[in-house]
């Protein structure tokens, strides 16, 4: 099919997959977190955003918002101590949901990322091999594909597929990258490809999987996960010990 024909098709008629994703944050997020959320929203034309949530009865609030916006999945960003960011992803109405700690956030406005893509274009979602091995990672893969996947023929989406989201599992964490699919079109060879990073990038540490929308039976708990506060306490103690030794 040539390009003109693709750009002519009426999307609304063929738009079957009406999955929507709710994106909300709690109160107390800082500007870095806000930029990340804005980037995600502009990348996902099928997302619905809502006002910041008060931190009480969160599962009930999320369920209600998913119901009113008729969303099939949700991303809920929770800030603690104004520095730490946690992410809940999950499916509505019958779960499951997963909790992550988010670290090392770099926004798309940073100057070392040279790529660019159309706003709201569809993206390929790429995983590495470990996502087909561990059961917990398999579930993450399934959740993430359905959250990030821009439905085909979505009215707000562009008819191009010009970028790629990459999830890679390494060191017990999920690493997120966003690349532009770039190719030389002159001689139609697929070999000389390059990827340019678009941003944002961040790292997700799995914490738990819960059977239900943010409440219910715990299916998985990461044994290697340490809370940020515990890490900070450890660091403080080490510092104290080193100064004591010097004295």
């Amino acid at each position: 099919m040539d390009a003109e024909k693709v750009f002519d098709t009426k999307k609304e008629e063929r738009w079957i997959n009406k999955q929507r994703c709710l994106i909300v944050a709690s109160r107390g997020i800082n500007d870095r977190h806000k930029h990340l959320i804005d980037d995600l929203i502009s990348m996902m034309p099928h997302s619905k955003k809502d006002a910041k949530l008060e931190k009480r009865e969160i599962p009930e609030q999320i369920s209600e918002l998913c119901f009113t916006h008729s969303c099939t999945s949700f991303m809920y960003f929770e800030a603690r101590r104004k520095t730490d960011l946690y992410l809940w992803i999950g499916r509505f109405p019958d779960g499951p949901s997963a909790k992550f700690l988010i670290e090392h956030i770099h926004g798309s406005g940073e100057l070392k990322c040279t790529g660019n893509c159309l706003k709201g274009s569809r993206h390929v979602i790429s995983f590495d091999k470990s996502f087909s091995e561990e059961p917990s990672l398999k579930l993450y893969r399934e959740l993430l594909t359905h959250i990030f996947n821009v439905p085909r023929y979505h009215p707000k989406s562009k008819p191009c597929t010009d970028h790629l989201l990459s999830f890679v599992f390494s060191d017990g964490k999920l690493w997120f990258r966003n690349y532009q699919l770039y190719q030389e079109t002159q001689n139609k060879q697929l070999d000389n490809q390059e990827l340019y990073e678009i941003g944002p990038r961040f790292v997700m540490t799995p914490i738990a999987i819960i059977d239900g929308t943010m409440m219910g039976e715990v299916l998985y708990k990461n044994p290697n996960y340490k809370t940020k506060t515990a890490i900070r306490v450890l660091k403080k103690r080490e510092k104290m010990m080193s100064t004591m030794r010097k004295e």
Binding site: R91, L111, T114, S126, K129, P135, K138, N149, K158, S166
Partner: protein, 121 residues
């Protein structure tokens, strides 16, 4: 205590796939068209070697790029088969993910860097 209910998790994975199949009205036993979910799993994984000259971060970055590039090549092949455009036509104007302001900044920065290198020579 370690909590890891592998079977229940796998059951959940199947449930999600089934609900997606129902949503797209794809009959049982038929494959869901790749174009609907656009997801790929590589056959390579990341291996970090410790105690060598290159730091872990650089190793990781290079391997991320390689794994993703492998997937990108397969993806582009599939996209061509399905007849999906991977590049916008030159006369198609639309809002970009990053604004012109940001892209101009990046461009001037790149030019500055190259000039710096030249001036050293």
């Amino acid at each position: 205590r370690v909590i890891y209910e592998k079977e229940k998790i796998l059951e959940r994975v199947n449930q999600i796939q089934e609900s997606f199949r129902k949503r797209l009205r794809v009959p049982q036993g038929k494959k869901i068209p790749w174009n609907e979910h656009l997801s790929l799993v590589s056959d390579k994984s990341i291996e970090i070697v410790k105690d060598i000259d290159i730091t872990e971060d650089i190793q990781r970055e290079v391997q991320f790029y390689n794994v993703t590039l492998g997937n990108a090549q397969i993806a582009l092949k599939y996209l061509q088969q399905e007849g999906v455009a991977t590049k916008r036509p030159d006369d198609y104007f639309a809002e970009m993910f990053k604004s012109d302001k940001v892209m101009n900044k990046i461009r001037t920065k790149l030019v500055m860097e190259q000039e710096n290198i030249k001036s050293f020579e």
